[in-house]
Symmetry: C2
Subunit: 674 residues, 2 copies
C-alpha cells in the first residue's frame, strides 16, 4: 500500500526540526524513517539497516532522531550537545553515541564509508544467505550534502559503487545550494545528476524536498527496488527551512537568533516558551518504528536459529565472527624462518602470508588500488568481488579491485570494517608513499578504532628507479604521529609474520605494514615472539658495548653488516630491531631500557626522515631530503646507507660523544611525554 | 589551411616510438606538436605553451620529444634514463629536465597542476593584456590516462575547471583501457565522456588515436577554438601499439622483449640493429617547430618592448616579477605589535596581513576550500577569480573559490606557482586538519620547490566544539617530517608577521601557517626579527635556570603563565618560542644551544602529538590521543595544558632529573642527524 503521509508525520518532522533547534541553541554552537529497520534496544543487531550522515556537521538532527527512536540518547544528552565528555559531540563518533555507525564530519568520508558498508552487506549476503534464509539483506542509507560531493574521495567511491552495481545503497543528496562560502554557484556548478548517471547510478529527483513527504517516500521505494544500481535521490531543500534566513549560508554554522527561533516554533505549531518538547503523536510514530525493528530482529533470530540446524558450518562461522574471535589456531598459519632460508622481499613474504591466512581467516578480504602485481595482495585462485553480471567474479569474492583510488579505498575499507567490527577484515594495498593520498581515511580508521590493514609496499628508496615522486621520506613519521595507528616495518620473514599477527589481533587499531620491493635476508636473532614486542635486541655483545645500532625494516640487515665491520675495527656494536614503535612504546620501561640502554651512543638507521628518531637514538642515519631515481643499490649508496657507511658514521658518533667527555644516557629515560 | 599529415609526420611519430623504446630498453626499466608554441633554447619564455604529462610514468616519451625539439636533453641523456643523477629520472621532475613544467607521477596531480597553469594564464592575461598586446595568451595541454582520471584529485580539479570556463586548457585522454591490474573493465566502467560533460567541459572523441593524425589535429583545433570550456579529447589508443602484447597490461611497466623490439622497429620501418636513431626528416619537423617557437618569442619580445612604452607601470610590474623580486619595501606592510596591544586570533592576524600585503604584493592570490569566513583569507573588496560570464567576478580577480576540494586546491595552487616561479604567489586556506587531505599535493610542492602558502586555521584543540574529527594531532609532525616544507605556528602578532615574511621570501619552499581560532595575547619578548630565526628566547632568567619551557603557537602564552607560576614557587624557568622548526634547525649550533642550553631539563608544550619533540626537549607536554568536543577552554583543561598544569608537570620533570642525579644535556648537542 502506498505511503500516505498524515498530520502526525508532519508533526514528527516538525518535532525533529524544533528539537534540533533547541539542541543547537542550547550548545550555542553548531548546524523520514518509516523504511528504516533498526532495533534501538540492540544497536549492534547485525542485519540492521545502516544510516550514515556523511555531512556530519548536521549531527544535531541525527542525535534527535536517535533520541526519538529510543536509542540511549536522552533529552539531557541532547542538552549536552558539544559539551565535554557528552555522548553528543560536535560531529558523530562511532563508539560514543549508540546508533552511530561511522565517524563523520571530514567531508566525503561518510559517503565512501557507506559504499564500504554496502559492500560488506553484499559480501556477507553472497557468502551466507541461503534460499529462505536472508541473514544479511539490510540497506545502507546515506545522507550527503554539497560539500561531500565536491570532495574527490566521494567521487572515487561513487565511481566504484556504480561499477560494483551496489543496489543496496541509497544516497540522499541534500541539494540546498549552500555551502560555507555562500551559494554553490560560486564554485560548484557541475550537473551532479548527470555525473552520477555517468557512474551508472540510478538518479531520482524530489523537487520539494522540504515538505513533499510522499515524493521522498516514493523515491526511497524506487531506490530499494533497483537491484543493479546504487541510487541517489537529489532532494531540493532549503537550508534553515522555516528560519527568516532560510536559503542563506548564514544559517550553516551558527545557532539561530532567539526571536527567529520563536517564530520558527510558532510556524511549526510549537509553543516557543517550551523547550525540548516531543508530542505524543511523534513518540508513537518513532515508537512504532522501534517496535517494528525489535520484531524484525526477533524474526531474524528465529531465522538464524533454524539456519544453524541446516547450515551448521556457516552458522558457526557467523557466530564466531559475531563473538569477535579469530578461528582457533589461525596463528599456526604464520610461517617461521631460519637464517638459512632464502632472502625474500617483504611484499613477497606478505603475499605468502595472505595466501596462508586466506584459507584460515575467511573474514580477511584483500584488495589493491590498481597495484595488484606490485603489492602482491591477491592470493592464487582468489575470486574477485564483482557483480556477477560483469562475468569477472561475484559478491562472495574476497578480492576487491579498488582502481586507482587510494583515498576512496581507505574510506571504503573503513566502512567494511565498520559493518561489524569482526565480520570482515579488510587488507588494502598501495605503495607506501600513496597511503598519504588516503591520510583523511587512515585518520578516521584510527579515531574510529577500525581494524584496517594497509599493505604498503615499495616502502623506501629501495624501490629504485621510480624515483623521489614515489619514494616515501615523511610517510612513516606521519603515521607514527597518528594516535592509535600501528606502523610496522618488518626486517625479515619472522618480523613480517609478527606484523600480521599483531595487526590481526589488534581489533581496535588500524595497521600500516611498510614492505619492501627488494629482497631481505632472514636474520639471525629474529623471532615472531621477539618482534611481537615491537622492538628487541637482535645482536648482543659481551661486556660493555661501544654503540647500539637500532634500525627498522630493510635497514636492519645493513645495521648487522655495519656491526660486523665495527667488530673487525675493535668496536663492540649491539644491534636492535624496532619494527613497530607503537607496540615497543607500550612495553615496560625496564624492557625498553634493556633494548636501548644507557652507557653508549645509540645510532639509528632508517631510510626516511630522521624526524622522530630522537625518541630512541642519539645520532640518526636517514634521509632528510627527497630520494633519487636510480637502481636501488645506487640510491642507497648515494645516501650513505650501506654497511660500510653506517660503520663509518657510527665511528663519527662514538667520537662525538667521547669528545663531549661525559656519560651517554638513553633517550628512553631522558626523553618522554609527561 | 587544414593540416594534412604526410609521410614525414608518420616517420616522426615512429621515431618517437622507437626512441622511447630504445630509452626504456637501455634502462631496462620503465613504460613507452605541431600546434605547440615553445622555444627550446629558452625553456622559461613566459608565454610558452605549457605541456603537462599527468601520467608521468610515460616520461620516456616526453624526454624523447624534448630531445627532438632541441631542449638540452641529449641522446646520451636518454641513455641515462632512470640512472643516478641523470636528467632523465623515472618520473618527470621540474628543475631537473629542461622543458619539464611540473613534477608528475603521483597520479592525478598533473591534471590539477594543468588547471592551475591555465588559471595563471587566464589571470595574468586579464591583468596585463591590452588591445593588440596579448602578452599572456598561451595554452595549457595536458596528457592524462585512466589512472589520473580515477583519482579524486583530478575530479575535483576538473569540476572547478569547468566552473571557471577555462577555454585555454586542453586535455588529451589516453583511453587505452588498461591499467596495472589489467583491463579497466575490472574497476573503471564509468562513462568518462559523460562525466566531463557534467563538469561542463567540451568533450571530443578520436576513435583511431593510434594513427588518425588528422582527427587528432582537428580535435586540438576545436579545443583551441572553444573559449568558454576546457576541452578533453578522448583518444582511443592501444597500449604498446606495434608490440605483439599491444593492448595488454603486460606492456605497462616493463620493457619489451628483445625480439618484440626488433619486430616493432621493422614494422615502423627502422633498422632493428641500430639504436637511438633520428632520421633527417624527423629532425626537420621538430627543428621547424623549434624555429617557429624562437620566432614567436622574438615577436613576443618586440610586443613587450612596445608595451613598455605604452604601459610603463604594468610592464615594470611584469619585469619585476620575471626577475623574481618582491616589490621594494613590501615588508613595511608587516605590522608590529607591543605587549599592550589587544589579544587577537592568529587567523585574524593573518587576515590583517593578507589585506595589507594584497595592496603591495600584487602577485599574491588568495583563496579557500569553502572556508572563507573561517580562514579569513579574503580581503575586503577582493574581486573573485571567476569567468565574467557568471557575473561573480572576472579573471583579473585575486580570490579563488576552490570549493570543498582541498586536494584539488593544493595541486591547482602548485600549478599556479609553477606557471612562473614569481609571477603569482598562491595563498590557500582550509582547516589545518584538512591540509592532510592534500598531502599528495603538499609533498609535490616541497619536491618541486614551489612557493605555495597554506593558511591553515583552526590549528588545534583550541577550535573547541567541532571535536576530534577536526582537531589536528599528527598534522604538524607530518609536515615537519616532509623535506623542504616550512611549518609555522606563530604565537602572536609579531610571529605571524615573521611567518609571512619568511614564507614570502622562501621562493623555493612551500609554507604551512598553522593559525588559531582563539585569541592570543601579544607577548613580551617577541619581535619579527627574533621569530625570523625560527626559534628564540622569549623570557630569560638570571643565573642558572632550573628549567627551560619551549612551546609553539597558542601554547607559548601558556608556557609564560607556567613560568610565572614556577617563579612564585622558587623555580627559575626560562621560556623559548619555536615557531618554525625547519628555520630554527638551520641556525648555528651555538645559537640553537643558546636557546635550548645544557644544564636544566627542557619541557616542551604543544597541543599535538609529542612525536618529534625529543629533538628539542626532555619532557613533552602534548596530546598523544585524539582531542575532544567541547568549548576550547574545557578541552585544554581536559588535556592538562594550562599554566597551572604545565607548572606542575615541569616540577615533575625537574624532580625526575634530580633523582637521576646527573647533569642534563640539551638534545641540541646530544641528538642529531649524522
Amino acid at each position: 500500500m502506498p505511503f500516505q503521509p498524515n498530520q502526525d508525520d508532519q508533526k514528527a518532522i516538525n518535532t525533529i526540526r524544533t528539537l534540533a533547534l533547541d539542541t543547537v541553541n542550547k550548545a550555542n554552537s553548531g548546524h523520514p524513517a518509516r523504511f528504516f529497520q533498526c532495533n534501538p534496544s540492540n544497536p549492534s543487531w547485525v542485519n540492521r539497516d545502516r544510516f550514515v550522515l556523511s555531512n556530519g556537521h548536521a549531527c544535531a538532527l541525527q542525535y534527535v532522531l536517535l533520541h526519538l527512536l529510543g536509542y540511549k540518547v536522552s533529552i539531557d544528552d541532547l542538552k549536552q550537545f558539544r559539551q565535554l565528555d557528552s555522548i553528543t559531540p560536535g560531529h558523530p563518533e562511532v563508539g560514543v553515541t549508540p546508533g552511530i555507525e561511522v565517524t563523520t564530519g571530514p567531508l566525503g568520508q561518510g559517503f565512501a564509508n557507506a559504499v564500504g558498508l554496502a559492500i560488506a552487506q553484499a559480501h556477507l549476503g553472497a557468502t551466507f544467505n541461503k534460499d529462505g534464509y536472508p541473514l544479511f539483506d539490510n540497506y545502507t542509507y546515506m545522507f550527503t550534502g554539497d560539500g561531500c560531493l565536491m570532495e574527490g574521495v566521494s567521487s572515487e567511491a561513487a565511481s566504484l559503487a556504480g561499477h560494483l552495481k551496489l543496489g543496496n545503497l541509497i544516497a540522499i543528496y541534500d541539494d540546498n545550494q549552500i555551502s560555507i562560502d555562500g551559494s554553490t554557484s560560486i564554485a560548484f556548478t557541475e550537473d551532479v545528476a548527470k555525473r552520477f548517471e555517468s557512474y551508472d547510478w540510478q538518479v531520482l529527483h524530489v523537487e520539494r524536498g522540504d515538505d513533499d513527504l510522499k515524493a521522498i517516500y516514493e523515491a526511497i521505494e524506487a531506490g530499494r527496488a533497483e537491484k543493479l544500481k546504487p541510487t541517489i535521490i537529489c532532494l531540493k531543500t532549503t537550508i534553515g527551512f522555516g528560519s527568516r534566513d532560510a536559503g542563506t549560508h548564514g544559517v550553516h554554522g551558527n545557532p539561530l537568533k532567539a526571536d527567529d527561533t520563536v517564530e520558527i516554533k510558532k510556524q511549526f505549531g510549537f509553543d516557543p516558551e517550551q523547550f525540548f518538547v516531543v508530542p505524543d503523536e511523534t513518540k508513537k510514530i518513532y515508537g512504532d518504528i522501534a517496535a517494528r525493528g525489535a520484531e524484525a530482529e526477533k524474526k531474524w533470530q528465529a531465522t538464524f536459529d533454524e539456519y544453524k540446524g541446516k547450515y551448521a558450518d556457516e552458522a558457526a562461522d557467523i557466530s564466531r565472527r559475531l563473538e569477535g574471535k579469530l578461528p582457533d589456531g589461525w596463528e599456526k598459519a604464520l610461517p617461521e624462518f631460519k637464517p638459512s632460508d632464502d632472502a625474500v622481499a617483504s611484499r613477497k613474504l606478505s603475499e605468502v602470508l595472505l595466501a596462508k591466512l586466506s584459507t584460515v581467516v575467511p573474514e580477511l578480504v584483500s584488495g589493491s588500488a590498481d597495484l595488484t602485481p606490485s603489492n602482491l595482495t591477491r592470493w592464487k585462485n582468489a575470486v574477485d568481488f564483482q557483480p556477477k553480471e560483469n562475468g569477472l567474479g561475484d559478491y562472495s569474492g574476497r578480492y576487491i579491485r579498488y582502481g586507482v583510488r587510494e583515498h576512496g579505498m581507505g574510506a571504503i575499507a573503513n566502512g567494511i570494517a565498520a559493518y561489524g567490527p569482526n565480520l570482515m577484515i579488510p587488507a588494502i594495498g598501495t605503495f607506501l608513499n600513496f597511503v598519504s593520498y588516503a591520510a583523511g581515511a587512515v585518520r578516521l580508521a584510527a579515531l574510529s578504532h577500525l581494524r584496517v590493514i594497509w599493505v604498503a609496499t615499495h616502502d623506501s628508496i629501495g624501490l629504485g628507479e621510480d624515483g623521489p615522486t614515489h619514494q616515501p621520506i615523511e610517510t612513516v613519521a606521519h603515521f607514527r604521529a597518528l594516535p592509535n595507528c600501528n606502523v610496522w616495518r618488518p626486517a625479515d620473514g619472522n618480523e613480517t609474520s609478527a606484523a600480521y599477527y599483531v595487526a590481526l589481533t589488534s581489533t581496535h587499531t588500524p595497521s600500516i605494514l611498510a614492505l619492501t620491493r627488494q629482497n631481505l635476508p632472514q636474520l639471525a636473532g629474529s623471532t615472531i615472539q621477539n618482534a611481537n614486542k615491537g622492538g628487541y635486541v637482535l645482536h648482543e655483545v659481551e661486556g660493555q658495548a661501544d654503540v647500539t645500532i637500532v634500525a627498522t625494516g630493510s635497514e636492519v640487515a645493513i645495521a648487522v653488516e655495519a656491526a660486523e665491520l665495527l667488530g673487525k675495527q675493535g668496536v663492540k656494536a649491539r644491534v636492535a630491531s624496532l619494527p613497530c614503535w607503537e607496540v615497543f612504546r607500550a612495553q615496560s620501561q625496564d624492557y625498553k631500557l634493556s633494548v636501548l640502554p644507557d652507557g653508549a651512543p645509540i645510532i639509528s638507521v632508517e631510510a626516511y626522515t630522521t624526524m622522530g628518531w630522537s625518541e630512541w637514538s642519539h645520532a640518526h642515519v636517514g634521509i632528510d631530503t627527497f630520494g633519487a631515481s636510480a637502481p636501488a643499490k645506487a640510491v642507497y649508496k648515494k645516501f650513505g646507507i650501506t654497511g660500510e657507511d653506517v660503520a663509518a658514521r657510527s665511528q663519527k658518533a662514538i667520537a662525538h660523544f667521547k669528545k663531549l667527555g661525559h656519560p651517554v644516557y638513553s633517550p628512553v629515560s631522558h626523553s618522554f611525554a609527561i
